[in-house]
């Protein structure tokens, strides 16, 4: 399978602060990939690097086999909806579509006008007077109508109300199915990801904690509850990767990744939701970071 996005050793520094450092990442083609992570993990920076809005300070990034924004043709192959879907407040919706038509050789005017009509947005309306949901839809329309191969969305639904969000994601899913797009979508709304994504990347402090097919991830992670073990650091069976562990007075709860079946009757086995999984990976890194910090202090 080819990758739509491939990064290695990727870093971006703004003045003295590294927004992203030493990031390695692959996104396979034909997927709707969700990029999750806490604020400041470098999601927006990564997506800006992928669209060529920013040039990397270190490392390399390839999008659809080419350097991002290396040519107008390459720019035409990638659609982008920025955070909060910025639009020209004084230009009308129709003006925005005309802008798209003038600036993109591959512009699909009938698709754009049809989408705007279906959304019941008045083409004469100034973009500054659109609701947040309508503006996001306009931005999505512009990104789709240039007929890209890859669609990149940065927190597209973050500022929308639940209804508008659901509608937006439904339209996104529809467009993906119609046009067979690859999508990279960043969000911290886990419910949204569950609805549209079939591939998941958890990014914490520039590092990919886990990446993979959503179904496969859910099928290989378990929540186990069992009696509390005493003594020094427990040694788990071979093939177990313990993502998180919490102990109460009598019992221990684990989130485990394993590809082999669990046959120890001492453990109660539960399925994991995507949200549990993401949170486990995000907080694991948090604990890890803290340990590193402690070490530094004692040294």
């Amino acid at each position: 399978m080819t990758d739509v996005l491939e990064a290695g050793g990727l870093g971006k520094r703004y003045r003295r602060r590294w927004a992203l450092s030493d990031c390695a990442l692959r996104v396979p083609a034909g997927r709707v990939a969700g990029l999750v992570g806490p604020n400041g993990a470098g999601k927006t920076t990564l997506l800006h690097l992928a669209t060529g809005l920013t040039a990397p300070t270190a490392g390399s990034i390839t999008v659809l086999g080419d350097r991002p924004a290396s040519s107008p043709a390459q720019q035409g192959r990638v659609g982008f909806v920025a955070q909060d879907a910025p639009a020209y407040a004084s230009l009308s919706v129709a003006d925005h579509l005309r802008l798209g038509a003038h600036l993109n050789p591959g512009w699909d005017a009938s698709l754009a006008t049809r989408r705007i009509r279906e959304l019941e947005i008045d083409p004469g309306q100034k973009a500054g007077r659109l609701s947040g949901g309508q503006r996001a839809q306009l931005a999505l329309t512009m990104a789709i109508a240039k007929r890209p191969e890859l669609l990149i969305l940065d927190e597209p639904a973050a500022s929308l109300d639940p209804l508008a969000r659901r509608e937006f994601l439904a339209h996104l899913a529809e467009a993906v199915a119609e046009q067979q797009l690859s999508v990279v979508l960043s969000s911290h709304l886990l419910a949204d990801l569950e609805r549209v994504c079939d591939y998941l990347i958890v990014l914490v402090a520039s590092q990919v904690r886990i990446a993979g097919d959503v179904e496969h991830l859910l099928a290989t992670h378990y929540r186990l509850t069992g009696p509390r073990r005493c003594g020094p650091a427990a040694s788990w069976p071979a093939g177990w990767h313990v993502v998180s562990e919490s102990s109460a007075e009598r019992q221990t709860t684990l989130l485990v990744r394993t590809s082999s079946p669990i046959d120890n009757p001492a453990w109660t086995i539960e399925a994991v939701s995507l949200e549990d999984l993401v949170l486990a990976y995000m907080s694991k890194s948090l604990a890890g970071d803290r340990r590193g910090h402690d070490l530094e202090v004692t040294r």
Binding site: H48, A69, P72, G79, F80, A82, P86, R98, L103, N104
Partner: protein, 345 residues
């Protein structure tokens, strides 16, 4: 891209057109009035030597009728409008895209950022130049009778409000504003910085202008003085410091005028005897007048060394200065094109 530039620029260009029309009307009326006064005073029809009375009459009525109005009108038309236009059109060009984050939209269309900027810079820059050029043409026409009488084209205040230099100023102000907007990333601070830097450079240019072309030197008879100082020594002798008035060539821009003696050497002071034609009495005493003193100086072979620029170099200076400002503007535009590709996100 051309469509987008026009669409975003439409409101501003209509406002500019309205300002241009209003200024044109004011200049047209003023110009016609000045031309009428010029004809009525007889200055227009007279040639040769006997024009002094007519031109004096003309300047008197112009000063009485339009004295307050003209500097304001010409200053507004030639300095304020082009520079403000350049600033107000230039500063938001990139800064506003960053402030409203619309850059994230437009820079992801299938047009490179460099091309996007180059087209915007080119089209809006041309509009700035056109407006400045038209205004300068109108001012130069409206003021032409006065300028013909005064012949003071090379005076700093007049020089920068005539000919082609206003086009250079406006172009430079525009490029400077775009650059400031791109670096500061905010429109209003960029405007403030532009106006400050532009004013500073304008002052620097006034100082530099004198050195653009090597001045001419001529040794000429003393025909008038700006001042004379007599100092008396005990014993009745003394010395005279003369400040010659400089070139009498019409419209010349005098840098300096120094006194030279009969041998052609520059002298700071002229020795005065106790009595005689060039004496303390004739130059400084109660009966001495500057006229008799100057006559005496001329008779003793004193002359003045004048360093000056002739009025005929007006256009040479104009093109030099315009070229400097346009070249600065081009350098800034180049910087912008490089910067937007490498540094702006």
């Amino acid at each position: 891209m051309i469509w987008l530039t026009w669409r975003q620029f439409r409101a501003q260009s209509i406002a500019a057109a309205a300002a241009l029309v209003a200024t044109a009307v004011a200049l047209g009326l003023t110009g016609a009035h000045v031309a009428h006064l010029y004809a009525a005073s007889g200055a227009a029809a007279c040639h040769g030597g006997g024009c002094a009375a007519a031109t004096a009459r003309f300047l008197a009525v112009v000063n009485a009728g339009l004295g307050d109005h003209l500097p304001l009108l010409f200053g507004t038309a030639m300095i304020a409008i082009p520079v403000i236009l350049g600033t107000f059109w230039g500063a938001p060009l990139v800064a506003r895209e960053l402030e409203t984050r619309t850059g994230l939209l437009v820079w992801n269309q299938s047009v490179s950022r460099t091309r996007w900027l180059a087209i915007k810079l080119g089209l809006v820059g041309l509009a700035v130049m056109a407006v400045a050029g038209l205004l300068s043409l109108m001012v130069t026409w409206a003021a032409s009778p006065i300028d013909r009488v005064n012949m003071n084209w090379l005076q700093p205040a007049v020089f920068s409000e005539r000919g082609v230099v206003p086009v250079g100023y406006a172009t430079f102000a525009f490029a400077l504003a775009v650059t400031a907007g791109m670096l500061i990333r905010r429109t209003v601070p960029a405007m403030a910085v532009t106006l400050t830097v532009f004013t500073a450079i304008q002052f620097a240019m006034r100082a530099l202008r004198a050195h653009l072309i090597a001045p001419l030197h001529s040794i000429a008879p003393i025909q008038g003085v700006n001042g004379m100082v007599v100092s008396v020594r005990p014993g009745g002798t003394g010395s005279l410091t003369v400040y010659p008035a400089g070139s009498t060539l019409p419209g010349a821009w005098t840098y300096s005028a120094q006194t030279v003696n009969a041998a052609g050497h520059v002298v700071r002071t002229v020795p005065l005897t106790a009595t005689g034609s060039l004496s303390v009495r004739s130059c400084g005493g109660p009966e001495g007048t500057s006229v008799t003193c100057i006559d005496a100086l001329v008779r003793h072979g004193y002359r003045q060394l004048v360093t000056y620029q002739p009025a005929s170099r007006f256009w040479e200076f104009q093109w030099y200065e315009t070229a400097i400002f346009v070249a600065l503007a081009c350098a800034l535009a180049g910087l912008c094109c490089w910067w937007i590709r490498r540094r702006v996100s």
